[in-house]
Amino acid sequence: MSNDHKVIGKSIPRLDARSKVLGEARYADDLSLPGMLYVKVVRSPHPNARIRSIDTSRARNYPGVISVLTAQDIPGEKLMGPIIKDQPVLCGEAVGYVGDAVALVGAETEQAAEEALELIKVDYEILAPVLDPFKAMEPGAPQVHSGGNIGTHSKVRRGDMEAAFRDATVVVEKRFFYPRVEHAYMEPEVAVVAPDPGGGFTVWSSTQYAHLDREEVSRVLGLPQSRVRVHQMMTGGGFGGKINPHAQCLAALIAWKAGRPAKLRYSREESLISSYKCHPFVMDMKLGANREGKLLALEATLVGNTGAYLLQGKAVITKSATHVSGPYYIPNIKADAYAVFTNCVPCGAMRGYGVPQVTFALESLMDELTGRLGLDPIELRMRNALDTTLPNATGQVMGASVPIKEMLGKAKLTVQSLKPLLQQAPAKGKLRAVGVGCSTRGIGSIRKPSRSTAVVSLHPDGSATVACGHVDLGQGSDTMMAQVAAEELGVDVDRVNVVTNDTAISPDCESTSASRVTYLSGNAVRLAAAKARQRVLEIAAGDLGCAPEELRLMNGSVVYREQGVTLAGLFSKHTFHSVTSVAEFLPDTVPPDPETGQGRPAGTYNFNVHVALVEVDEGTGQIRILRYLALTDVGHMINPLIVEGQVHGGMMMGLGSALMEEVKVENGVTNTSFATYLIPTTFDVPQELLIGVVEEPEPTGPFGAKGFAEGSLDPVGATIANAVSKAIGVRVTRLPMTSERIHELLSQR
């Protein structure tokens, strides 16, 4: 497929690489405007309290302070959020967690703003918090919101559970715990907002979804969306954490009140305390199989602690429920997934979106089954893997690009190649074992169909401008979009300018999340570029008296039988300045039914198979990963270098939640810096990390491509836990596997 492509499938260096390496890339915090104020936020020190009164008088009179704001000053909507808009922009009557925003100060300097914060006196009536989701579900528990503490309940119902478990020869059942995890993007939240002379506002922000910034800022200020323009600045990572423009709204309020530009940048501590996290899950899972190792039934109760606000909790919970059976065919499934309100820090979107959680539980039970059935872990997975005819938990049959069996075959070869290392006697007190983990995920939002739109303008010099709303967070999507357009238009990548970061130019395509950009926007960009090309070729064909199929576009010319007609000449003759086309892509999906979870929720699915060889120190419980193989399925690679980067990053992020990361909450977040919230460093990279890519083109994808960015994280916790469990002879049921926890399990043997 790739043979006749000029730029698709090529490891073209990222278009933003040079500016980043040279330090020329501009981030939101690099921006400084004349007269700009600095914004600081008063945050609640209590997890649950009513606000009796707020006294801002001393802060207002503090030297350098220009504006002080509380909830009652907000001109527009007082609640905000990415999907469910249930978080107060500023709390007026009550606070729901430690870190909830209560008041704002805008001052001439950041220091004056900071000092004035301490002069704002909030009189709280402190109430008993509820922090544990199971306690929150008990009768008589403190109510986080009126309407009960169960924020959402997602279901999957397939088949006859009773009969299936009756027929099962082997049933395994356990409770699993997945931690609350921080995104730890390199760049904390930053927003600069300035009033425009015409009454609108301009926002420059670090964001995953510029159009959501526009929507929320306009709602909070009570303006039409068209009066707010958002520029996404170079963004230092998001991982799901920057789809909630709280900082943008807060900065906008000061800019509105003071009539001056305003900047709000979170400190790392502030980001750790207040921003939403990955949902911690408690998962009760029960899996039954027959003697031959065919899976018969899966029952799961998944409880996610969503914290004080729902925000994205409903969608995360639905994703986890619909992905509960992983890449396997299981005829009978009953899953109940709950997002439970507590007075903890809110949880929302994070790379994986509920899938790493259920993958950890399911893959652990798969390994438990192998023990009971005397089957090889890869063999058991092979016997149950999906193919192009079998339905997943939602009843969806993917007609193509389901390479899980091929991947398992490759994994088997890797496991065999690791045998010598496994048999080689490790140092005294060291235990070695190999583990396998598999996963799958639907690409894009599954809660509702989601459309991407692209505008492609072909210019007379052969260069092109692409406008599309999926911002690049550092993963390289702008480069891939340029490759897609360049391929269709027959030009070099550096002749294509991709504009994704300006709401006045780029159409809204929903957030850069859910591994959706390559698949959705890749298609929209390809279709728009093809449309522009077709239009030009048709015009030229009219001039030349031939069929458009006999023509091709190359470097700014229409080529006919070795003869070239320049676009400049053609455009001029036909009164075009540029040729502009718009195209949309909407995958053919049906959201899961609320009662049964059945539907066709994703346009395509990505699969992953990982293998780890670990060494556990029997004395200390420390884990070292000696070899790691991450096999991923991408349909067809648009840019191998970017694929590799994403898989490296996803794998290491997964390793973080597997081995060390956990946001701890005692009333509020307690690990509030990177000295206590630990993320992997280069010293934690596996001794040898191999990446394998399986290419089985997705017929509905652009050039056969599909999304994969989250997939490389999904099975990491499961894979390492399976290896460690085998090494120590005790089942790991709780992540992260800190040395202390493994030491505890070792002493239980």
Binding site: T676, L678, F683, S739, H743
Partner: protein, 272 residues
């Protein structure tokens, strides 16, 4: 000195700043005068002193870790300082600062305690030499009284003495604050069968870095064998260590790790 007198306590000494600047940024230290001592001559040298060493307090820890003189005479110290922090931290953090900050988890302390180092404190009333073991008085507290720590003296050690340092951190990264650290320096008798001079130092398991005196005593004059190693390790964990539970680890895990790591260190030193 006179500057410190004049400012009457409202002063912090700035060397590498790797602890101080973090405390200032966090707001734990505010509106204080800083006196930069990095460039006071004399504080910046590593000198041989008989068969021992004199380390200027303002020498950065990476320079010490990489010094051929230190590597040759006290590989134990070099080993410990090599994992004191990331390369960037190691290039800034000074040996005097790491000690004067008096963290129970200071990475330089166990090795220097095992090597029986002393610190020279200089004040308006003159100077004094304090054994490092008596220098720490609590978490973040030392016996410094408006004095400047100027030098660390590491006395000569017998040629056949060998040391081992273990740092147990929550990750593979040297910048981690340790959960437990252990330094052991041992000199066997001529027959290499009897423990004669064994010094065991522990980090992050007491209010200050400590010597495990009970464990050391139990070894003195005993045969170098598995049983004595086990006894000493158990005593270090049960009698010497007084750990607390914090975000890095529980008291019981720390105790268990003292036992494991002391035993490992002694076993390693038994292999000859």
């Amino acid at each position: 000195m006179s500057l410190m007198e004049k400012l009457d306590g409202g002063v912090s000494l700035l060397a590498g700043g790797t602890d101080l600047l973090v405390a200032m940024k966090d707001g734990r230290l505010r509106h204080r005068t800083l006196v930069d001592i990095k460039h006071i001559s004399n504080l910046g040298a590593i000198r041989p002193e008989d068969a021992g060493l004199c380390l200027g307090a303002a020498v950065n820890t990476r320079t010490i870790a990489r010094s051929p003189l230190v590597k040759e005479r006290f590989p134990l110290l070099s080993q410990a300082l090599a994992v004191l922090g990331s390369m960037q931290i190691g290039n800034r953090a000074t040996i005097g600062g790491n000690l004067a900050n008096a963290s129970p988890a200071a990475d330089s302390a166990p090795a220097l305690l095992a090597l029986e180092a002393s610190v020279k404190l200089v004040g308006p009333q003159g100077e004094r030499l304090v054994p490092l073991e008596n220098f720490f008085s609590g978490p973040g507290k030392t016996v410094l009284e408006r004095e400047l720590l100027t030098e660390i003296h590491v006395p000569s050690a017998p040629d056949q003495g060998r040391g081992v340092f273990y740092k147990l951190g929550p990750r593979g990264a040297p910048e981690d604050i340790c959960i437990v650290s252990v330094a052991v320096f041992a000199v066997p008798d001529a027959s290499k069968r009897i423990w004669t001079d064994v010094r065991i130092a522990l980090g992050a398991v007491a209010p200050t870095p400590i010597r495990a005196r009970n464990a050391e005593k139990a070894l003195l004059g005993q045969l170098i064998e598995g049983r004595t190693v086990e006894d000493a390790a158990r005593l270090a964990a049960e009698k010497d260590a007084r750990p607390i539970s914090d975000i890095r680890g529980s008291a019981s895990y720390r105790r268990a790790m003292v036992k494991i790591l002391v035993a490992r260190a002694l076993e390693q030193l038994s292999e000859r």
